[in-house]
Symmetry: C2
Subunit: 452 residues, 2 copies
């Protein structure tokens, strides 16, 4: 396995190409380092400046008097070989090249030159044509996007390996708003050296990473990918989306990251074979990731639906069946208990606690579902709009989940009042979804991951 630690925890970093122009990529990266809680040292390099943002600048990495763990390169494409050669001489072993204008623009000569330097100096390279890396624990953050436009996520268990910088950054931004926590983020662009497989292997052994999300346009080395993905997916879930599955989309990948997209069937086959969970949209990816990060392994695929909104019970039922799973059958034992405690209409699956449902009713239903051996997964669709559902419903759900008997998933359907309760549940490791269909789609992946 390649040692990629420096990309996430380097203690001394050179940023090569730090312009004084505040709109330029190098400048923004440097500013982000200064503003962040990053604990290491940062050295800006600019051949024409001696002071940038009040910090001493160096004309070349060769002038920096200390050892450098990682260089971030943001100079124009034609200068990349020159500065990389200097990095080699300076014995810098790890490089992120942000700069674009390589094979994705048809510039194969420049591509070859950079590659030969990497080989010569035995460097690890992420990029070129990439956005860089982000680690929410160490705060090492080489993303060239201003923080006021792109909020950085809090600490968490998701890591995202993303070929496209734009997709990666906007998803990061969106996921941050939704309260997702991340461990590591890597936009690896053209994958000239470090590729998707190296990153998956590295994250497979990363303690902070619990779920790996993958946005792929192409795979460089199929054999290597299959070997690594097979191993890693046994340790932790890998969720992937493949862009460019249609003929038209595939054409577009070529000019984007220079990837040969391959056919949809080939990719789906590889994913199945390696135990990777394939999703069909970015929305699905993160809804699935949340489920796999927060939920324990279910014993099977029999779903118990509990709700105080009859319509939602029906929609959740439809979704369960349409996703190839089953409604749990409640035991006679449970039915006896239910008869005493719940309204008559509730004695089936879905348990419909009706519009006058109480928090107490939810407590009973949850306890029945947790104790019934015919139930593998509990899906609650809670309407917090009705007056008799008190806000301590949240505590009851959290207590039930803390027993760690079965995965509990909640659909919290509503607006602002609902959002408050939803956030509390999420903070306590209970994944929440807006619609039953979304929850069930993610449950299918939870079941699928542990089934294989």
């Amino acid at each position: 396995m390649r040692n990629l630690d420096a990309f996430f925890s380097a203690q001394s970093i050179a940023i090569i190409g730090v312009s004084r122009d505040t709109m330029k990529v190098g400048h923004i990266i440097f500013r982000n380092f200064i503003d962040a809680e990053y604990s290491g040292k940062v050295f800006p390099v600019n051949p024409n400046a001696t002071l940038i943002l009040n910090k001493k600048a160096y004309h070349s990495v060769l002038q920096i008097p200390e050892k450098i763990d990682l260089a971030i390169v943001a100079v124009p494409a034609e200068f990349v070989p020159i500065v990389v050669d200097e990095c080699g001489k300076k014995k810098i072993e790890n490089l992120i090249v942000i700069t674009s204008g390589f094979k994705e623009m048809g510039n194969y000569a420049l591509d070859k030159k950079l590659l030969s330097l990497i080989k010569k100096y035995r460097m690890n390279l992420i990029g070129p044509n990439c956005l860089g890396t982000f680690d929410s624990y160490t705060k090492l953050d080489s993303l060239f996007l201003p923080r006021y436009r792109l909020k950085r996520p809090k600490e968490g268990g998701l890591s995202f390996v993303c070929q496209s910088g734009a997709v990666g950054s906007s998803i990061l931004d969106m996921a941050t708003k939704e309260g997702y926590g991340f461990a590591k983020f890597i936009s690896y662009g053209n994958a000239m050296d470090v590729d998707e497989s190296d990153l998956i292997e590295y994250l497979g052994s990363d303690e902070k990473t619990r779920v790996i999300c993958l946005y792929l346009e192409g795979i460089g080395d199929g054999r290597k990918f299959i070997d690594i993905a097979k191993k890693v997916s046994k340790k932790k879930p890998i969720i992937a989306i493949k862009a460019g599955k249609t003929k038209e989309g595939s054409r577009a990948t070529l000019s984007h990251t220079g990837s040969l997209a391959g056919t949809a069937e080939v990719y789906s086959g590889i994913f199945r074979q390696t135990g990777i969970l394939e999703v069909s949209s970015l929305g699905d990816m993160f809804e699935t990731a949340k489920m796999l990060e927060k939920c324990m392994q279910p014993k099977g695929e029999r779903v118990m639906v509990i709700t105080n909104g009859g319509g939602y019970g029906i929609l959740a039922t439809d979704a369960t069946i349409n996703n190839g799973m089953h409604l749990a059958e409640i035991s006679k034992e449970s039915k006896k208990v239910m008869k005493k405690l719940l309204p008559a209409i509730a004695l089936e699956n879905p348990i419909d606690l009706l519009g006058d449902a109480t928090t107490e009713g939810y407590k009973h239903a949850l306890s029945i579902a947790i104790n019934d051996k015919g139930v593998d997964i509990i899906l609650l669709v809670v309407l917090y709009q009705t007056p008799l559902v008190t806000t301590d419903i949240v505590d009851i759900i959290i207590e039930a989940n803390d027993m760690k008997k079965k995965p509990i998933i909640v659909v919290s359907a509503g607006g602002e009042f609902t959002d408050v309760l939803k956030s509390t549940l999420e903070a306590n490791n209970i994944p929440n979804y807006t619609f039953p269909e979304n929850a069930v789609r993610a449950i299918r992946h939870l079941v699928g991951y542990y089934k294989k």
Copy 2:
């Protein structure tokens, strides 16, 4: 067509069954009327009280000294016939019966009794077992959910006919948070008298309603539904979701609103035949509704994708093809203009303006797409995270949209900063989506509606 005006603009309303207990349905409804900007008169009825919330209460509707346009009934099921009989004697022509406990609970005798009273007095009845109606223009609001838990939506062009109260209310709540505007909302429950078809017909002629959304568990009178839906869907789009399409889900509808669900195929057939757009989830429903409310008719289905995020261009392309539409082919003329104004890589569809895209670049690309006759629909995927996309991109998109040449749809992928810009676009009639897949799914319905 039945005259249902009173359900939305009654000037004098009796609320029958207003308890002094603040948690009871009747009380909440009455409180909601007092708190709202509703301009008519409201009379609380309670056999045991003379003052409720500091307002004079009546022991029976018969004691109210004025003409009553609408009565809202929230007494226990067994008392419903008694108070409805009194309403008849008082010559009240319109009733909402909130109370449940009729055929959905197997109580057919009570059902029959209520129905015979309705016939006898020739009343219009919405319910029983329903949530009531809401009109955002008149502020007539009979929903029995407290406003602090369920925010009411602003004025707008969507109307939502919803058999399930829980689905209706939570969707209203959610849509309100998302900034959707509504005209009318009706939760019609068991549909004993006024049914889905009557409501569709009424909304078809309602000036405020531009798009009708429909959550159905069953259809009472198939022939009537087909006749009316055919007529109305020619005037304005109807978007429907059918709950209980699986065998298991269908069983659940019976105990919910007493509906016989029928097979999935039958329903899909009816929807196709009548020009109703069928969606498969509540999320899709409102994403589609927004598109049809805000967008003009496209001339065809050739989509032009413009983005500054290459990966999103690929995903949007995949989604376009997977939804059975086409990428627009740019004319030679346009290509010439593009060559002068845009980066080399951008000369195809998707137009990829790259990570260093400027607002100016977007302006050029938009203008090319608007003027090219080969383009029917413009899909922008804007990443606002990159520094050279200035915030006046919003003005440029709005100006282009105001020319009313082609529908313009935006994917605004991001977090808080993005949300600010997104709201401005939405307020200017440009629908925004979080992911390209969602936008394209809604575009397919836009195309589908005008194609038929």
